[in-house]
């Protein structure tokens, strides 16, 4: 790829990312919707937010949540990654896709699963109460929120840590073992420090996700009056009676103001991190570390995490979808029903919603991988300001909470003339999804790119191929397996996404996620759970595919 192509691709990406972000910035300095007549420049929105005590409490809660869940998620995620990738732990192949499961279930639905299982009258809580006489936990406390949010985000860390660990030769670990270090010591002093850039990046991402966390706090904390930034933004739509975009924009701006320095910090920390790069690309000789008797505690650790984070909420949810009622004083056998699913079949747009979701996830996911790959190739092995710019930019969309991102993308499609014809099509939805998941998708693809040794590419250049030709004939074919893996990950991600597209929906382009939200608002929880069960079945099928082909893919 030559310089001008690279710059052109980066610029195109920059425009696509910056347009909604700049729109939000502009909106924050106005006293009404930017498209209305008679709007003026104003700092009123800033004043309102800065004088609102609820903003500070939401900010405080968000900070607590973001820090807390990073502290919970990073060590567990790193540990799980080490155990599954570098050791001979039994059943690793099947555990791996299961660990990723929480990423792919809509967080509102997952939170609801926790309520059904572990709430004050949850199915499990009632059983425990029968034995102990009381429920030893409070699902609605701040501690529970932080811990659960942390556990739910373990997969994000796991994902980054595994891809880094895979490209790490096992020679160093074996060296440590031969000097007499135990497996734990190897993990803590050799393997994990070697992948600290990836862990740092993962920590940063989890911290960001903490700031925009919506589903869990909405369900678990909001009713008690505990708000975080994302639920605060949500309440701002109504606090003045009419939707107040300028107030939402200000909060988003503040979230960005907090996150940008973090990206800067991360880059500064990694500036002299070239020593890590030398370990990449040498995929030679990985041997799993024998951990002997440690295997069983390790399996217990993984199982405990899986049970709390995946099995309990998901099985509660599935069970709930076969019940007409639940809670204190309900006999489950009497409440059993198939009615929820029967009604789902009668629901006019469910079939189309399911169909659209699958199209968007399958073809859209593939197209997004293509976009991310192109962007990655544009900056691949290129030390330039342009590459730095892209590094910052891709994280920006993550600072937009879902409802704001949805609104901004809708405005762009409505007010930019050449985009208007696409507004009510799945194409618009795909653009929105691709933008919002860019930080994540870029990283997934780049993980496989970094596994290729530069020698190979240089060899291609030496025999006279152009840079573009090397990309097409050498780099991309080499990472084909990694790309298929990324595609599967995006497939499951797109299946669960909804908030981004909420304004782009129209008759004909509805997706499962949006059906869920609409039913949730009007009380159709019976159908929500039935639809979620269906959704989980899809995600499950996707994960099964990963499990079946995953091993083969990783080794290309």
């Amino acid at each position: 790829m030559n310089r001008s192509t690279r710059i052109a691709i980066i610029l195109a990406a920059a425009i696509a990312i910056a347009a909604p972000v700049l729109l939000v910035v502009w909106q924050s300095f106005l006293d009404g919707p930017f498209f209305a007549r008679n709007v003026h420049f104003s700092l009123g929105a800033f004043q309102f937010i800065f004088e609102d005590p609820k903003f500070y409490s939401a900010l405080g809660n968000s900070l607590l949540l973001a820090v807390g869940m990073t502290i919970v998620a990073v060590p567990i995620g790193a540990m799980l990654a080490f155990l599954l990738v570098r050791t001979d732990i039994p059943g690793g192949r099947f555990l791996e896709p299961l660990i990723l499961a929480p990423m792919f279930i809509s967080s509102i639905v997952l939170a609801f699963g926790f309520v059904v299982a572990l709430g004050p009258v949850g199915l499990l809580s009632l059983e425990v109460k029968r034995f102990l006489g009381f429920v030893p936990w409070n699902l609605y406390s701040r501690t529970s929120l932080v811990v659960l949010a942390g556990l739910v985000h373990v997969p994000h860390v796991f994902l980054y840590a595994t891809s880094a660990l895979r490209s790490l030769g096992s020679d160093v670990e074996e060296a440590a073992r031969s000097m007499g270090a135990g497996p734990m010591r190897v993990a803590l002093t050799v393997s994990l420090p070697m992948i600290s850039p990836s862990l740092l990046y993962a920590a940063l991402l989890v911290f960001f996700l903490g700031f925009e966390l919506f589903g869990l706090p909405l369900i678990l904390a909001d009713p008690q009056g505990v708000s975080v930034l994302a639920t605060y933004v949500y309440s701002l739509t109504n606090v003045l009676g009419v939707p107040s975009y300028q107030l939402m924009a200000v909060v988003v701006l503040l979230i960005m103001a907090i996150t940008l320095p973090l990206v800067f910090l991360q880059r500064a920390l990694l500036r002299n991190a070239n020593r890590y790069i030398s370990i990449k690309g040498k995929a030679a000789g990985q041997k799993p570390l024998g951990i002997g008797a440690w295997r069983w505690p390790a399996v217990a650790l993984i199982s405990a995490w899986l049970i709390v984070t995946v099995i309990i909420p998901v099985s509660a949810l599935i069970l709930r979808s076969f019940l007409s009622s639940w809670g204190e004083g309900v006999t489950l056998t009497e409440a059993f029903t198939l009615r929820n699913f029967r009604e789902l079949a009668e629901y006019p747009n469910v079939v189309r919603g399911v169909f659209n979701t699958l199209i968007l996830a399958f073809f859209g996911g593939a197209a997004s991988v293509a976009v991310y790959t192109m962007l990655n190739l544009a900056t691949h092995r290129w030390n330039s300001r342009w590459a730095t710019l892209l590094d910052y930019l891709v994280l920006l969309p993550r600072a937009l909470p879902g409802i704001v991102a949805g609104l901004a993308v809708f405005w762009i499609f409505l007010f930019v003339p050449f985009l208007q014809p696409f507004r009510q099509t799945l194409f618009a939805m795909w653009i929105a999804y691709t933008l919002v998941w860019m930080a994540y998708g870029m990283r997934v693809v780049s993980a496989s790119l970094l596994q290729i040794s530069p020698d190979l590419e240089e060899a291609g250049r030496v025999v006279g191929a152009t840079a573009g030709r090397v990309s097409i004939d050498l780099t991309v074919p080499l990472i084909r397996a990694g790309l298929i893996g990324s595609w599967l990950l995006l497939f499951v991600t797109f299946v669960r996404e909804y908030s981004t597209g909420v304004y782009l929906l129209s008759p004909g382009t509805e997706v499962i996620g949006s059906l869920l939200v609409s039913l949730w608002a009007t009380g159709g929880v019976d159908l929500v759970v039935a639809l979620s069960t269906l959704n989980i079945a899809f995600v499950g099928a996707g994960l099964l595919l990963i499990a079946m082909f995953g091993k083969r893919l990783q080794h290309g």
């Binding site: 739509t237 939707p243 975009y245 208007q420 304004y503």
Partner: protein, 371 residues
């Protein structure tokens, strides 16, 4: 999330002829002229029907779940098979945001807006977004349900007390607002067990509680009692109903009656009660935007919605009819002298006055947490 009924015009035109014929018989309309007015409508109505069929299409933005109106839309289509209907259900904020942005972009928008967020609908009328249309159904509607021939209240839904029948002792169930206040003040068993919409994040929740205050200032005592009882606040009906059903909460205040009654139909553990001192009645307001591209099709739909036939369809889904001549499902229509209908009119604009709104929320928060 939206649904569409024959959104492809080509298909709509090729609908089998038998349904057209059947409809013609039912309506005792002559077979030669399909575009005739329904019985009791003025002669000139023919013109609207003709124009609407020429438009052939109708787009509706609504806060009513698509699931609740599938029967209604099917029935409308059987009356006017040449008009394809595109029905998008959105929440009230999305509906408002989407509509005003689309009007500003002149990119075409809905032909009819139908929303339970009464104040936002009235604001749209007041801001000049609606067009006037004198529906021939006007004489059948109560006077409170119409404003300026632009905003039409299409339902009369009670705002109800909802409780968990399985767990709440019958003796405790309050029948008036004063009963409720007393129960919360005197019975510590209800601490953390009651729920309502959060006026800070739910526009309709704000509307109900401020309307309560217009009925009686005693509402402040109730708010204080609820604050002491650690009232749980929700932005959406689903989460609230679910925790009520499970027994996590025992009582939900000011819930939209139709949602609770629909749920009750499948889960008998829900009790729905219309307070006997006064019951507020809210209405889904329909309006035809000035920018509607198919205004005549919208007029047909509005008239159908207000007609006895359309109202019967709504009533079957527990959205109580605004018409006195359509029977209401049991327990969904309060006694006439106890009804406090929220007037479809400019009074609702006061609700959107920012200063008043913020002042109320401040007072409300203080009453909820006195210390």
């Amino acid at each position: 999330m939206p649904i569409s009924w024959g959104n492809n015009r080509g298909i709509a035109l090729r609908r089998p002829a038998w349904s057209v014929v059947a409809v013609c018989f039912v309506m005792s309309v002559s077979l030669q002229s399909f575009a005739r007015e329904p019985a009791g409508y003025p002669r000139s109505y023919e013109k609207i029907v003709e124009a609407a069929q020429k438009q052939g299409h109708l787009s509706i933005y609504s806060t009513t779940d698509a699931r609740e109106v599938s029967g209604l839309l099917r029935d409308f289509r059987s009356l006017y098979p040449r008009i394809s209907v595109e029905y998008s259900d959105l929440n009230s904020t999305e509906l408002y945001s989407r509509f005003i942005a689309e009007v500003a972009a002149h990119e075409g928008t809905a032909d009819l807006l139908w929303s339970l967020a009464m104040d936002l609908q009235i604001k749209l009328v007041n801001d000049g977004y609606a067009q006037a249309y004198a529906s021939p159904e006007k004489p059948n509607l109560p006077e409170w349900a119409i404003w300026k021939n632009e905003a039409y209240g299409t339902t009369a839904e009670p705002i109800a007390f909802v409780y968990n029948k399985r767990l709440m002792p019958p003796g405790d169930v309050p029948h008036t607002h004063a009963d409720l206040e007393r129960l919360l003040r005197t019975n510590p068993a209800y601490v953390g067990k009651i729920a309502t919409y959060n006026p800070e994040s739910s526009g309709t929740g704000f509307l109900w509680i401020t309307q309560d205050l217009q009925v009686t200032r005693d509402t402040w005592a109730l708010i204080r009692a609820m604050g002491r009882a650690k009232l749980q606040l929700y932005a959406s009906t689903g989460a609230m109903l679910e925790r009520l059903v499970s027994g996590e909460h025992l009582f939900a205040y000011n819930m939209i009656g139709s949602y609770a009654l629909e749920r009750q139909a499948r889960d008998p553990s829900i009790g729905v009660l219309l307070p006997t001192d006064y019951t507020m009645v809210a209405s889904r307001i329909a309006l035809i935007p000035a920018e509607a591209r198919n205004p005549d099709a919208a007029k047909l739909f509005l008239d159908y919605l207000l007609s006895k036939r359309g109202q019967t369809q709504l009533s079957a889904k527990h959205m109580t009819s605004v018409r006195a001549d359509v029977p209401a499902p049991p327990g969904s229509r309060p006694n006439a002298e106890r009804t406090r209908a929220i007037r479809v009119g400019p009074e609702l604009l006061a609700n959107l006055d920012q200063i008043k709104r913020l002042r109320f929320l401040k007072d409300w928060r203080r009453a909820m947490n006195p210390d």
